[in-house]
């Protein structure tokens, strides 16, 4: 009996799966469930002749099968359109997707930079965009009336304030707020009185600082190299050249091998194979003294580079002004 039921169910399944029209479905319903000649109805009716010991279990099985058949017939009927045939869906119609917002490429690069340094054990620090002469200059070993300030193109504000020209004031604020060893990065807006095709009066910098016993210039080189390889590509080279920033000594500028031509020479690197990336050096002893750190015990490195420039190189953006124009056709190229 059990085998008979299974065979019946299998036959029903195959018939109902093939039924595409309302007429066919009704035919199947009649064949199995009609009161008069339906196969399952006949079986139910024959139940009274069964062995009384088996009767309850058999009855359950038959009723379960009946319920199953009725549900399948209903479902099959629902997928049939009003004209009595199955209504094929044009699956190529556009989906109902909500409009995707985006995060600005600067924000995306920012998260990526922060992630890299967090993994390298740095803490995230921040500071105000409006600064004082002390934090932006004096504490960073820029004396009053010193020509090194000229290169900074400072915007001055009423009330003896200024817009920070670099993220370096955060070095001072972080060292004052923390005890060594200190390993921080600070990322944010900076301002220079400069505007042309390749400059915007507002841009973004990221600053790194590590101060502890025994920090070396070699550590600086290794850190910058590790970062550059993570953010761009794993085979690039970094080159350090001596340079001058009052708050570091020895001071350096660093270049990376061109990420576009791999050092072969192209328009972006002006055929030199190198791209200028930023400034760096060993924290000047005067800076350490200003925050009450003893340069005989502690040493440190600092580096700074342009976030906008990283974003431009990474995404192939050739005009910095695109970053601040906020054209949706541009922004939507950076899904997040």
């Amino acid at each position: 009996m059990k085998e008979r039921l299974q065979a019946l169910k299998a036959r029903f399944d195959s018939e109902i799966s093939g039924a595409a029209e309302a007429v066919a479905i009704e035919k199947i319903r009649a064949a199995y469930l009609s009161r008069k000649g339906g196969e399952l109805s006949l079986l139910l009716r024959s139940l009274k002749d069964a062995d009384p010991a088996e009767r309850p279990a058999l009855g359950n099985s038959l009723n379960e099968l009946k319920a199953y058949m009725e549900r399948r017939l209903t479902l099959a009927g629902e997928s049939v359109g009003t004209d009595g045939t199955r209504d094929p869906v044009d699956v190529t119609l556009p989906g109902r997707a909500p409009r995707l917002g985006t995060l600005h490429p600067i924000t995306q690069v920012r998260y990526e930079i922060e992630e890299i340094f967090l993994e390298m054990g740095y803490c995230l620090a921040s500071g105000p965009e409006v600064e004082t002469d002390f934090f932006n200059f004096v504490a960073l070993n820029f004396p009053v009336d010193h020509p090194a300030r000229d290169a900074q193109d400072t915007f001055y504000l009423e009330g003896d304030f200024l817009l920070r020209t670099h993220t370096s004031p955060v070095q001072i604020r972080s060292m004052q707020a923390r005890k060594p060893p200190v390993k921080i990065i600070a990322l944010g807006k900076v301002y220079r009185r400069d505007s042309d095709v390749s400059h915007s009066p507002m841009f973004h910098q990221v600053e790194g600082l590590a101060v502890a016993e025994g920090i070396t210039f070699a550590d600086l080189k290794g850190t910058v190299l590790a970062f550059a390889r993570r953010i761009f590509r794993s085979d690039l080279q970094v080159r350090f050249r001596p340079s001058y920033f009052p708050f570091v000594e020895p001071g350096a500028e660093f270049d990376i091998s061109c990420v576009l031509c791999s050092g072969g020479g192209c328009g972006t690197c002006k055929q030199t194979g190198w791209l200028e990336m930023g400034g760096a050096g060993m924290v000047h002893p005067n800076v350490l003294r200003t925050v009450g750190y003893d340069p005989e015990i502690l040493s440190g490195f600092a580096f700074g580079l342009g976030v906008d420039r990283i974003a431009m190189l990474k995404y192939g953006i050739d005009d910095i002004r695109l970053l601040f124009e906020n054209d949706l056709r541009f922004l939507e190229q950076f899904p997040s």
Partner: protein
């Protein structure tokens, strides 16, 4: 700064191609910007940093090249041809320094019998190569020595110096002087001048005066070679709006020991190109102590700071070739005497840089700091901003970054905070204030996108807005803020239905998403009038009774200022105020799920049209003793068959008792009480369809 390869070769023969000369100097910290062939010469443009005034001339640059290439350095001759003369400098003129604090040394040579004409070709050619305009043989000779040895010199027509004397003093208030550029200036007592017995004849270290300049009739020359205080020269040059070759070098620090050799070198050159004879004896007033700087250097520390083993012999050799004297003081300590032209070398680290840059930065290995600092992860505030940015972006807004510099009228049009913090040296008038609201930049971006064909624009920005300090001595306030704008007539078209152009409820929804992304309740909204919003569209958002920001439709003033001809909707929320509503250590918390069945009922109401939805919801929620878990407005309708002056609102109410299943009689009783309260308070009539 321009340099001629021919000229450099007078002092060092690098034995290298021009491009390689540029590369070598770049590698030691004097980067080459460009190089250009001019005739048989090559002209370089080097970017000399402000700490290296000693390299702002050919001899100084040749010294670096000599160390970088190991080739010997030759120095120019400063010997004065012997003369037998009845006169001496001391009997022909007098020098008095009345302000020694600003002028540490004043050296002068007297040359008589010059015949001033144009310079010979070799001299004018050299000057032209570095971008100078030849003037006459005497002036050209001073410029030549400036570009050769780096010291600024000035030649006076001695016959025009009243009393044949030089007095170095502060100017008197309002004292007049017409400088070489023809501008009549009024000086003040902060300005150091070179004066004769009667009047100023030059602004010290910046520019000479017209009355005493060398002319074709000049026969007697007083040649000045002085040392002035760098900060004073810089202040004066800035005040006068002048930047000259002389001030550029004095600001960066000149060499007090070079005044005499430079004067002699130039006097000799003048006799060669303009004839005449140098009088014996020199006028030399000096208050500056001899420059004898000595720095202690620990060779071991060089290696420790660089992370590189440098042989001691290499260190010593490099320092000596740079002009330093090195004396051993025991095995681990040297005494290094620094040459007078290297004012930038003041402490041990400066010497370490000298060694490192000539030994080669590329020899330093790459390692990583071995120090471990307990990671802090992202700061809480940073995590919150990030969460909110992502939530708003997910609800369809594109993040922007706009300029923090705006105009006073931007701030006044879009905020109630006044014109904003003033930039005293703006690039342009339209960027002379710090933004007191994020909206100006966002609206500009909105208009930009509408003008470029977008039919629907939704933008947001997070960033600081600025306010002047509340009290003197405090820092200006920087408040982290999020703002959204949306607009566009079209909306997004979709085959399944008509497009829905953005409206006020899009920005409102974004604000609600922002609050909810922290598990905060949706803000309470109260109609609020802000002068820049369209009448009747403004609303203030408050959380737990504390205002956090506003929404509204841009009013006519904004439309005019931004040339906006479509409706635009704005929201600005203070993240500081929003985050202040978060309990400390906020994070998601689980509440037990209520497992009893809930009961849902719809209720349609007819109300006077000035009744707000907030009143309806408040009234419903105000009925005591009803286990109401959700109220949702699902329809709002005016027009037929709703009578004029009335509005229909339909709400869905969900009842659920956490303890037991509600029975239908109870629900009916609750609904009746709600209807009764709505009738009493708001005059609402249940509507039967």
């Amino acid at each position: 700064m321009k340099f001629s390869l021919d000229w450099l070769k007078e002092f060092v023969d690098p034995g290298l191609e021009a491009a390689e000369v540029g590369a070598r100097l770049t590698a030691v910290g004097i980067p080459m910007d460009s190089l250009e062939r001019v005739g048989r010469d090559t002209v370089f443009d080097f970017d000399v940093t402000s700490n290296r005034p000693d390299c702002m001339n050919h001899l100084g640059l040749a010294r670096e090249l000599s160390v970088a290439t190991g080739r010997p350095l030759k120095t120019p001759s400063c010997e004065i041809p012997p003369s037998v003369d009845l006169f001496t400098a001391k009997t022909s003129a007098a020098v008095e320094v009345e302000a020694p604090e600003l002028c540490g040394r004043y050296t002068a040579r007297i040359i008589l019998g010059v015949k001033v004409g144009p310079s010979p070709d070799w001299l004018s050619g050299r000057l032209s190569a570095v971008g100078l305009r030849p003037i006459n043989a005497v002036v050209d000779a001073t410029n030549y020595v400036l570009w050769e040895m780096g010291h600024p010199l000035h030649a006076f027509d001695l016959a025009r110096l009243d009393g044949r004397q030089i007095r170095v003093r502060r100017a008197r208030p309002q004292e007049p002087l017409t400088t070489l550029d023809g501008i009549a200036r009024k000086l003040d007592s902060e300005t150091l001048v070179i004066a004769d017995a009667r009047r100023p004849v030059a602004v010290a270290g910046v520019m000479g005066g017209r009355d005493s300049e060398i002319s074709s009739s000049t026969t007697e020359v007083l040649l000045e070679s002085a040392h002035f205080d760098p900060a004073s020269v810089r202040r004066t040059a800035r005040k006068l709006g002048l930047h000259t070759d002389a001030s550029h070098r004095f600001e960066r620090g000149a060499d007090v020991e070079i005044t005499l050799p430079a004067a002699d070198r130039c006097a000799r050159l003048i006799t060669e190109v303009a004839g005449g004879r140098v009088l014996p004896s020199v006028l030399d007033r000096r208050s500056a102590p001899p420059s004898r700087r000595e720095i202690a250097l620990r060779p071991e520390r060089v290696c420790r700071l660089l992370g590189l083993e440098v042989p001691k012999s290499t260190m010593k050799d490099l320092l000596e070739r740079l002009g330093c004297g090195v004396t051993d003081e025991g095995a681990s300590r040297w005494r290094v005497a620094v040459p007078s032209f290297r004012g930038d070398l003041a402490q041990e680290e400066d010497l370490i840089e000298e060694i490192a840059r000539h030994h080669g930065y590329d020899r330093i290995p790459t390692t990583l700091p071995s120090v471990f600092v307990l990671p802090e992860g992202r700061p809480e505030a940073e995590k919150r901003s990030r969460r909110i940015r992502e939530a708003v972006a997910r609800s369809g807004f594109a993040e922007t970054v706009t300029l923090s510099l705006v105009s006073a009228s931007d701030n006044e049009t879009l905020s109630e905070a006044g014109p904003g913090l003033k930039v005293t040296n703006p690039l342009s008038e339209g960027q002379d204030r710090l933004r007191g609201t994020l909206l100006p930049g966002l609206l500009r971006s909105l208009v930009h996108n509408l003008n470029h064909g977008s039919s629907e624009v939704r933008l947001f920005e997070t960033g600081s807005i600025f306010r002047a300090p509340a009290r003197k001595g405090e820092m200006p306030d920087e408040e982290e803020t999020i703002s959204m704008v949306c607009g566009g007539k079209g909306g997004l078209k979709h085959w399944s239905g008509p497009p829905q152009p953005p409206d006020l409820f899009d920005v409102k929804g974004a604000v609600e998403v922002a609050a909810r992304s922290f598990g905060l309740p949706s803000p309470d909204w109260r109609p609020a009038h802000l002068p820049f919003l369209a009448r009747g569209t403004g609303a203030e958002a408050a959380i737990q009774g504390n205002p956090v920001g506003f929404i509204g439709q841009a009013g006519p003033a904004i439309a005019l200022a931004h040339e906006l001809d479509e409706p635009a909707y704005l929201a600005e929320i203070s993240l500081r105020k929003l985050f202040a509503r978060l309990p400390a250590g906020w994070g998601p918390r689980h509440h037990p799920l209520v497992r009893t069945p809930s009961v849902s009922r719809d209720l349609a109401l007819l109300l006077d049209e000035d009744r707000t939805y907030a009143e309806v919801e408040e009234t419903i929620r105000g009925v005591e003793g009803i286990p109401l878990v959700r109220v949702t407005l699902f329809d709002r309708y005016r027009g037929r068959p709703v009578p004029p002056g009335k509005v229909s609102m339909a709400v869905n109410l969900v009842f659920q008792n956490s303890g037991r299943t509600l029975v239908s009689g109870e629900v009916k009783e609750m609904l009746d009480r709600i209807i009764q309260r709505l009738r009493d308070r708001l005059g609402a009539v249940p509507r039967v369809n």
